[in-house]
C-alpha cells in the first residue's frame, strides 16, 4: 500500500462523526488549558484517562493528542497578553509577543502565532507521515554525549537571548544553573540544597517559577506606574497580521517549523530547546537584531512555529519505537496500553488504522484549531480593555490557583510569590529573566547527560569529540561564542 492510500484510509477513520467530535473536543480543551496557567497538558490528560477507558482506542488517542497540540496553540495567548508563559516552550514568546501587545499589536501577535502554528503543525504532520521511521532511527543515534552537546549549545543560545548586556545574560544563566542543582542528584539520589525540606527534593517547579518571574513581577511593575495604561489601547481593526508583517516573517515561520520538527523528534526537552534555538537563529539572521526584544514579529512567529512543529514530531518516538518523549506523550502511551495496544516497532503493522487515523486527525485538528483561534483573537484583545485594576486581580487569582494545582500544595503559591518579588527586583536592575529560567530548565539536563556520558566512557572526555554528531554540535556552540568576538575584532581593525 502506498503512502497516499494509507493516508486516505486514515482520513476515513478520522473523519467519522464520532472521531471528528473527539478531535474538536480535544482541541478546545487543549486551548482552554493552554490559556490557563498551572494545570498543564500532562495533568489534564491524566485526569481524563479514566474517561477513555470505555472509548474506542483511536478516538481516545485522537482526543488526547488534540489536548496536547491544542495546548501549544493556547499556551502563547497568556505569554502575549499578560507576559505569563503557560509552559516552558512559550517562555520565548513572552520576549517579543508581550512587547507587541504593549505596542498595541496584540492582535497581530496572536494572529501570527495562530497562523504560524497552523503552518508549522501542518508541515509537521506532513513530515511525520513522510519520514516517521527514518527520523526514529535518527533519534536513536542520540546518546548521552549528543544530548549533552545539544543542551550545551542550547545554553549558549539561551544566554544570547538577553536583550542588552551579554554579561548580565551570563550572570543570570549561571544563577539559573545553580538553581537547577537544587533537588536529588541524578546519580546517587542524594538531596542537595534542600535544607531538609521535602518540597525541594524535586527541585524548583518550572511553571511556578515562570508565573512568578514573569506574571507576578509584571503586575508588580505595572502597579508601580499606574499612568502607563495607554499601552493597551489596541484598536480592534489591527487584529490580523498585515501584508508587511507577512513579508517580514514568512521565512521565519518556515525556518522555525523545520528546526522545531527535527529537534522535536528527540525525547526530553525538544520543544523547549527548539523554541529558543529558533529565536536565536532569527536574531542571528536578522538584518536588524536590535529590534528583537522590542516587539519584532519574527521573534513571535519563529518560536511559535518551532514549538508546534516539535510537538507534532514528538509523536514519532511513541508511534515508531513505543517510547514517550515527554510527559504528555507518556500519558497517551498509557491510554493506548489500557486498550491493550502496545505502541512500538510493530504498531504500524498491527494497527495501521490507529497509526494513520491519528496522523490524519492531526491534519484536521490543526485546521480546527486555526478556525477556533482566529475568532478568539477578537475576544482576547477585548479582554485587555478590562480596566487594569480588575484585570490584575483576576490574573493574580488565576496564577494562585494555577500554582496550587501543580502539586495540590500551598507551598508552590509561596514559591510563586518569592519568584514574583525576585523577578521584580531583577527588572529594577535590568537583569534578563529568560536566560535565568532557561538555564534552570537546561541545567539538570546538562548535568545528567554529562554524568551519563562520562560514566559510560569511563571518565574520558574524548567521547564528546569522537562522535560526529556531538562534535559538530560542540563546533556550532564554539562558533556561536566566537563570532561576536571576531566581529568586534574585525571592527577594531577596520576602525
Amino acid at each position: 500500500m502506498g503512502l497516499f492510500e494509507n493516508l486516505a484510509n486514515g482520513f476515513v477513520v478520522a473523519l467519522s462523526a464520532s472521531n471528528l467530535f473527539y478531535c474538536a473536543l480535544g482541541a478546545i480543551l487543549g486551548t482552554a488549558i493552554g490559556v490557563l496557567p498551572g494545570l498543564g497538558p500532562p495533568a489534564t490528560i491524566a485526569l481524563l484517562l479514566p474517561v477513555t477507558f470505555r472509548m474506542e482506542p483511536v478516538s481516545a488517542v485522537i482526543m488526547l493528542a488534540g489536548i496536547f497540540y491544542g495546548a501549544m496553540y493556547g499556551g502563547s495567548t497568556t505569554s502575549i497578553l499578560l507576559n505569563i508563559p503557560g509552559e516552558a516552550a512559550s517562555v520565548v514568546t513572552c520576549l517579543d509577543g508581550y512587547k507587541m501587545a504593549r505596542n498595541g499589536r496584540a492582535g497581530a501577535a496572536l494572529g501570527i502565532s495562530a497562523i504560524g502554528s497552523f503552518i508549522a503543525g501542518t508541515l509537521g504532520v506532513l513530515g511525520v507521515s513522510l519520514m516517521a521511521p527514518t527520523l526514529a532511527s535518527f533519534a536513536l543515534k542520540f546518546g548521552p554525549p549528543e544530548y549533552c552537546c545539544l543542551v550545551f549549545l542550547g545554553l549558549m543560545m539561551a544566554i544570547y537571548l538577553s536583550e542588552e548586556s551579554v554579561l548580565k545574560g551570563l550572570m543570570m544563566g549561571a544563577l539559573g544553573l545553580l538553581l537547577g542543582t537544587v533537588g536529588l542528584d541524578p546519580v546517587d539520589g542524594i538531596p542537595r540544597f534542600t535544607f531538609g525540606v521535602n518540597r525541594l527534593m524535586d527541585g524548583v517547579d518550572f511553571v511556578v517559577m515562570a508565573m512568578g518571574l514573569f506574571g507576578i513581577a509584571e503586575i508588580l511593575c505595572n502597579l508601580e506606574a499606574p499612568e502607563n495604561r495607554e499601552v493597551f489601547k489596541t484598536s480592534l481593526k489591527g487584529l490580523l497580521p498585515t501584508l508587511e508583517d507577512w513579508r517580514q516573517c514568512w521565512a521565519s515561520v518556515l525556518r522555525g517549523s523545520v528546526l522545531g520538527f527535527f529537534i522535536g523528534v528527540l525525547p526530553g526537552g525538544g520543544a523547549i530547546i527548539s523554541s529558543f534555538a529558533s529565536y536565536a537563529l532569527e536574531k542571528r539572521l536578522s538584518k536588524h537584531p536590535e529590534r528583537f526584544g522590542k516587539g519584532a514579529i519574527e521573534g513571535v512567529a519563529a518560536p511559535e512555529a518551532a514549538n508546534n512543529a516539535a510537538s507534532t514530531s514528538s509523536f514519532i518516538p511513541l508511534l515508531t519505537l513505543g517510547i514517550p518523549g515527554n510527559a504528555s506523550i507518556a500519558m497517551i502511551f498509557v491510554a493506548l496500553m489500557i486498550h491493550g495496544i502496545r505502541p512500538g516497532p510493530l504498531l504500524l503493522q498491527e494497527h495501521p488504522d490507529l497509526f494513520w487515523g491519528v496522523i490524519a486527525s492531526m491534519y484536521i485538528g490543526n485546521a480546527l484549531l486555526l478556525a477556533l483561534n482566529l475568532p478568539l483573537i477578537n475576544f482576547w484583545v477585548r479582554m485587555l480593555k478590562v480596566p487594569y485594576q480588575y484585570l490584575a486581580v483576576i490574573v493574580v487569582v488565576v496564577c494562585v490557583i494555577g500554582a496550587y494545582s501543580v502539586n495540590n500544595s500551598a507551598w508552590d503559591i509561596g514559591m510563586m510569590v518569592f519568584f514574583g518579588i525576585l523577578g521584580y527586583l531583577l527588572r529594577k536592575f535590568a537583569f534578563p529573566a529568560s536566560p535565568f529560567i532557561l538555564a534552570m530548565i537546561l541545567g539538570p539536563m546538562l548535568e545528567k547527560t554529562l554524568q551519563q556520558s562520562l560514566i559510560a566512557s569511563g571518565g574520558d572526555f574524548m567521547t564528546f569529540l569522537n562522535r560526529p554528531i556531538s562534535a559538530s554540535l560542540l563546533l556550532a556552540a564554539g562558533l556561536l561564542m566566537l563570532t561576536p568576538l571576531a566581529k568586534s575584532l574585525w571592527k577594531k581593525q577596520k576602525g
Binding site: A46, L49, K141, D185, V187, G189, N198, M337, N407, S409
Partner: protein, 324 residues
C-alpha cells in the same frame, strides 16, 4: 519540654474530637467504621501505574465498604511528601496511603527519608510487577548465566542503564552486583522510557524494566529478556528463567499496596482489608487491571506486613553495605 507540650495538645485535641464524636469507645468506632468517605493519598503524579491501579480498584469502593474512597494526589519528593502526610494523620482508617516499594521501603530503608514500616501499617497488597533484566540482542551472551560470566571476564565493560537512583532497575542491579561480584558501569537515566531508548540505540547494553513496557521489544527481537526477578516465572514470558533459577537470589517486586498510619485499630484494618479484597475480586476491576497488563495479587495485612518488614530490613542492610 516542648515535646510533652506537643503531646498534651495532641491528647487534648483527641479528647475534644472524641467528645464531639459522641464519646465513642474505639471498638464501637471500629464497628461503625466507616461513617464517612475514606481518603486515599497517592504520593506520586497522575497517570502512573499507581494512580491507575488505585483508581481502578477504588471505583467500586462504595459497593463493598459502604462509603466511597476519595483519591487525593499529593506528589513530591519521590513520594515522601504524601507518605509523611499520612503518617502524621489520625490513625482512624479515614486517611490511607497508596504504598509503593520506592517511597515505602527503599527510601526509608536506605536514605532515612519518607515513611516505612516503622511509621505505617499494612492494610493489604493489591498487586506487583517484577523487574525484568533485558539486554541488547547483539551482545556475546544469550542467557543470564552467560551474561554473568561475560561480566566477570570483562569488568567495567557492560553498560547498564538504570531508571534513576534506587529505582526498579538500580536497586536490584546493585543487589546482583553485591551477590555475584560483577562490575559494570551503572548509568542513571530519567525513567524507564529514556533507559529503554538508550539500550535500543546501543548507548547502553542492558536495563531493568517492567513487562508492560518491554514486551513489544522482546517480541520484535530488539531486546532479549535475560531473567525475571520474581519467585516464579512471568506468565507472558514462559521461557525466561528467574534469577533464582540461575543461582542468583535476587527478587525485586514493585508492589502497589494500601497502608494506614501506625496505631490504626486492628478491627478497622481488618474491615478495610476485607473491603479491598472484595474490590479486587470485582469483575470490572479485574478486567481493568488486566488491560493495564497486570493482574491482582492480593495479600492480607499479616502476610503483606511480614513481607514488607523483611524487604525493609534487607534493604537497610544493603544500604549500609553499599554506603561504606
Amino acid at each position: 519540654m516542648r515535646k510533652s507540650f506537643f503531646l498534651t495538645t495532641m491528647l487534648a485535641g483527641l479528647f475534644i474530637g472524641l467528645c464531639s464524636a459522641g464519646a465513642l469507645a474505639p471498638t464501637a468506632m471500629a464497628q461503625e467504621f466507616p461513617t464517612k468517605p475514606v481518603t486515599l493519598i497517592i504520593p506520586v503524579g497522575a497517570g502512573g501505574s499507581h494512580d491507575l491501579t488505585a483508581r481502578a480498584v477504588t471505583s467500586v469502593a462504595s459497593n463493598y465498604l459502604g462509603q466511597p474512597i476519595i483519591i487525593q494526589l499529593k506528589p513530591g519528593g519521590g513520594g515522601a511528601i504524601g507518605s509523611e502526610i499520612v503518617a502524621k494523620s489520625a490513625p482512624d482508617g479515614y486517611t490511607l496511603l497508596f504504598g509503593g516499594m520506592g517511597w515505602s521501603t527503599t527510601y526509608p530503608a536506605v536514605e532515612g527519608r519518607s515513611k516505612g514500616p516503622d511509621d505505617l501499617m499494612a492494610v493489604c497488597r493489591i498487586n506487583y510487577s517484577p523487574t525484568i533484566i533485558a539486554a541488547r540482542p547483539n551482545l556475546p551472551f544469550k542467557t543470564f548465566k552467560e551474561m554473568l560470566a561475560y561480566a566477570k571476564a570483562n569488568p567495567d565493560k557492560l553498560i547498564y542503564g538504570n531508571t534513576g537512583p534506587w529505582g526498579q532497575a538500580d536497586l536490584p542491579w546493585k543487589m546482583i552486583g553485591k551477590q555475584t561480584g560483577i562490575k559494570t558501569k551503572n548509568v542513571p537515566y530519567d525513567g524507564g522510557g529514556p533507559a529503554l531508548l538508550a539500550v535500543l540505540g546501543g548507548h547502553a547494553d542492558m536495563t531493568g524494566g517492567l513487562v508492560t513496557a518491554l514486551l513489544p521489544h522482546f517480541k520484535s527481537g530488539k531486546l532479549r529478556a535475560l531473567a525475571v526477578l520474581d519467585y516464579k516465572r512471568e506468565e507472558k514470558l514462559p521461557d525466561v528463567p528467574t534469577a533464582k533459577e540461575e543461582g542468583v537470589d535476587v527478587v525485586n517486586l514493585m508492589w502497589r499496596s494500601v497502608l494506614a498510619p501506625k496505631g490504626t485499630p486492628r478491627p478497622v484494618i481488618d474491615k478495610l482489608a476485607l473491603a479491598f479484597k472484595k474490590m479486587t475480586e470485582d469483575k470490572s476491576v479485574v478486567s481493568m487491571i488486566k488491560q493495564f497488563g497486570d493482574e491482582i495479587q492480593y495479600l492480607g495485612p499479616d502476610e503483606f506486613g511480614k513481607l514488607w518488614r523483611e524487604e525493609f530490613e534487607m534493604q537497610k542492610e544493603l544500604g549500609k553495605a553499599l554506603k561504606k
